[in-house]
Amino acid sequence: MSRSTKGIFRSSSMAKDYIRSRIDREIVREFREEFYPESKLRYLGLPGKELLDVLSWREFIEYVSAIEGSDDEDERQDLELTIMKNKLDNVVDVIYDNIDDILTSDINNHSLKWPYQLVNLDYCGGLINRKEDTTSNRIDSIRGLISKQQDNAFLLFITLNLRDRDDGDMDQRLKEIEDGLYPYSLRNLVDSLEEHRQLGNVGKLKIYLPVFLLNNSPKYKPVFSPPVLYQGTKQMLHFVIKYVPFTGSASGRLIIPKDYVDILNQPLFLLHEGPDLRQYDFPNVDITS
């Protein structure tokens, strides 16, 4: 369990600290070396009032657009205090607005400096939260994000609460995947999908999100790191996706069965307390069978 935050400024958990400083930081460093060795990176996202990501990756970062959607004055003041105490005055630009509205809007009201090489969507809630008309703000905003990145390489960090009012959307998607791969008679396909389902939203999101991103990024070849399930304020699932620009064809990248199989075969990492990282493997779906 995370420490009580009552009366205490710090709100992150040990697990999240570990992910940020040991796992993600290394990913950021490698990414920068690969794509932007001569320059520092621009960060967009929901860093929270303590700016923990920004402080942890500070040496790689040139500029931050910090989206703060909360109306809570205390949160806002604490964010300003963090900025000043850490001498980030000319690095961090705070935008008080809803991130989904910003990403879905066609107008750049906040002088955002697209493209951003690091995007952190640390959502407190779920991913889908489907509305009555079956659309989802969050899903739409991620689509908006990808289109605004102008085909430039970037890292996307998404952290999700397992609770999600998806109205059966995830089950539907898993079924579609199963139906689509079934004709190929792949060994362990059914077992793998069954195991994912048994884990509940953890297993379903592990497939759902990457599949969604895969299908909505024709100009990119997303590279998925294995997701991490950890204990924050609640149980959270953390994804890191490296968006590599695809230039192979003018019509965009083709999605093939192997792409789905790779997603299924990815392990799940578990982090319950501190530096105790564990790997959970799923039945290996064999594409050569």
Binding site: E80, N90, V94
Partner: protein, 588 residues
């Protein structure tokens, strides 16, 4: 009738009306003065830190301007405040600083309330050195201003001034003041980074730019810091606005000379201020005004506790003449007299016992500085004359060298040599005057400050050397000149020499001997009856028409002025005139 008996009078906050806040809200401070107040408080916090801990503070005042969101934050890492301190800070016009030592800059206790009119909400977050608690003071400025009325003060402030506490980090010590939702219509400058920077450069105790140096003479910044190291209340803050440091801005070293230190004393000889002064370097023109197009400054700023009071040249408006000459200088005057304090608006000194004496001393400093300007001007003039002398000598030499061969332009060159020789004489006289001035003994009781200053400037080593060298050169040349001219111009040179050797006297031209008669000016402009039937037309322009007598008179006068009417050459020329006219078909 019975006698009076005193009754006890008690005061409570109910006796003070909320309308008092109107004064604070209604412009006690202008927009940037609000900023200054918070920076000043930040600075005082460092003084507190040093006093309490004995450690050297980091002296950094950090400013964050968030124009989009309309907030301005000022943060210091000084002593900070605990619960008692924050309760004291919220008081209106009651300052513990006023009864503490004179080292504090702020003293009126208005500090925290300075921004009342500038924003909707003022928030102070602070934690004191070695106290694990953080405190937050929130003032609902908008609510207070909207509800100002003749009700007791405590009623209007109730629930609009809140103090809260939480746990913090024990090692932290800071104070952050944030003005939220700044009133853009009247206080837009508080959200303008450039405006804040410019204001800070000119008025606040920010450091000198470490890059302000001359290649040959060295660092101007370091020199001034050295002058001031033993002067009280000259400590600076490292002011950082949006992570960029702010420095005082002064003219480029190529435009001003190395600064010097001056001590300003009153009529009793007591030191009242320390100044540093830098003079213009404009040595190629009489106009020595320091240009300030690049945003730098000229003239003098007066600093009290290192904050600038009023405008540049304060107190020079009366009793100091030629104040425009102060712009030939740039500098600062640091008041060291502890009796001197700024008024509320910090535009002049507050009246006090020593007020008049100190102002008098400052005016005397300005006057002597103006005299320096005059002296500098005289110096520039005489140096220019030395340069001109060299130019004249060179021109004469060139003209003489051109005429080893006899050609038609000899006469014109002779005229030119004569003219330049005359100019050289005039310049020599000025340079000679300067040299005589150098040799004179100073008599401060009888001579004006300007005269003494001029002499002082003439006596500067490089100036004196230039004057002496120039005069020597002229004297040597004058000895050589007759021979030079004779070689170049032959017989005609004699008459030039004769003219140049003769003392100056009135022209001998015929026209100057005519008695003349009074005439109507209008008649003068009518064409004269020369007795010549055919008007003379200029062979060069084909346009001008002049009567023959006038033309001959003018020509004769010109020749006589150059050659002298007793010279052989003159006579020869005059004798040839009729012949030349006849050749041109004119009978005289």
């Amino acid at each position: 009738m019975s006698t009076w008996t005193k009754k006890p009078v008690t005061w409570t906050i109910k006796d003070v009306g909320a309308s008092l806040l109107d004064s604070i809200a209604g412009g006690l401070y202008s927009k940037l003065e609000v900023f200054r107040e918070y920076v000043q408080n930040a600075g005082d916090s460092y003084t507190d830190f040093q006093r309490v801990t004995g450690k050297s503070p980091q002296n950094q005042v950090q400013v964050r301007v968030d124009e989009r969101n309309g907030t301005l934050s000022i943060m210091d890492y000084g002593l900070g405040m605990d619960e008692v301190d924050i309760n004291t800070a919220k008081k209106i016009a009651v300052s513990p600083k006023a009864v503490r030592t004179t080292e504090f800059v702020g003293f009126r206790g208005i500090g925290i309330w300075s921004g009342l009119a500038a924003c909707e909400k003022l928030v102070v977050i602070t934690t004191k050195y070695q106290d694990p608690h953080e405190y937050r003071l929130t003032i609902d400025c908008k609510g207070i201003i909207e509800n100002i009325s003749p009700i007791p003060l405590d009623e209007i402030l109730q629930d609009r001034v809140i103090i809260e506490e939480r746990m913090g980090q024990k090692d932290d010590h800071f104070t952050q003041v944030t003005l939220h939702h700044i009133n853009r219509s009247q206080f837009s400058d508080l959200l303008d980074t450039e405006a804040l920077r410019r204001y800070s450069e000119r008025f606040l105790p920010v450091p000198f730019d470490p890059s302000w140096k001359d290649e040959k003479e060295g660092s101007y910044s370091e020199a001034i810091e050295k002058y001031l190291e033993d002067t009280p209340w000259t400590a600076n803050y490292n002011l950082i606005i949006n992570n960029e440091p702010v420095y005082r801005k002064f003219p480029d070293t190529k435009n001003i000379q190395f600064p010097t230190k001056e001590i300003i004393t009153d009529s009793g000889g007591r030191t009242v201020a320390i100044a540093w002064v830098s003079e213009t370097r404009r040595d190629n023109s009489k106009k020595g005004v320091i240009t300030t197009n690049d945003g730098s400054v000229s003239n003098f700023a007066i600093r009290v506790k290192n904050f600038v009071i009023g405008g540049r040249g304060l107190y020079s408006e009366e009793g100091v003449s030629d104040i425009q000459n102060l712009k030939w200088f740039v500098g600062e005057i640091y008041i060291t007299d502890p009796d001197i304090r700024p008024d509320t608006k910090r535009i002049r000194f507050q009246p006090s016992e020593r007020h008049d004496e100190v102002i008098k001393a400052i005016k005397k400093f300005y006057t002597s500085t103006v005299c320096r300007a005059r002296a500098l001007s005289a110096q520039l003039t005489v140096l220019q004359k030395c340069t001109s002398a060299q130019t004249f000598i060179d021109e004469i030499k060139i003209l003489c060298a051109q005429h080893t061969i006899d050609d038609g332009s000899k006469t014109a060159s002779l005229f030119k040599v004569k003219e330049i020789t005359s100019q050289l004489s005039s310049v020599k006289a000025s340079i000679d005057d300067a040299l005589r001035e150098i040799a004179k003994k100073d008599n401060p009781d009888q001579e004006s400050e300007t005269v003494l200053a001029i002499r002082r400037y003439y006596r500067r080593k490089d100036v004196k050397q230039t004057i002496e060298a120039s005069l020597g050169q002229i004297n040597t040349f004058e000895l050589q000149l007759p021979e030079l001219i004779r070689e170049a111009f032959g017989d005609e040179a004699k008459s030039v020499l004769a003219v140049s050797e003769r003392p100056k006297r009135r022209s001998q031209a015929r026209t100057s001997r005519l008695p003349g008669k009074p005439v109507n000016p209008e008649a003068v402009f009518k064409p004269q009856n020369t007795g010549v039937s055919t008007p003379i037309e200029s062979s060069v322009t084909k346009k001008q028409v002049v009567d023959l007598d006038t033309a001959i008179d003018a020509f004769q006068a010109a020749v006589a002025s150059v050659l002298g009417d007793n010279s052989e050459a003159y006579q020869k020329i005059i004798d040839r005139i009729p012949e030349e006219l006849q050749r041109r078909g004119i009978n005289v």
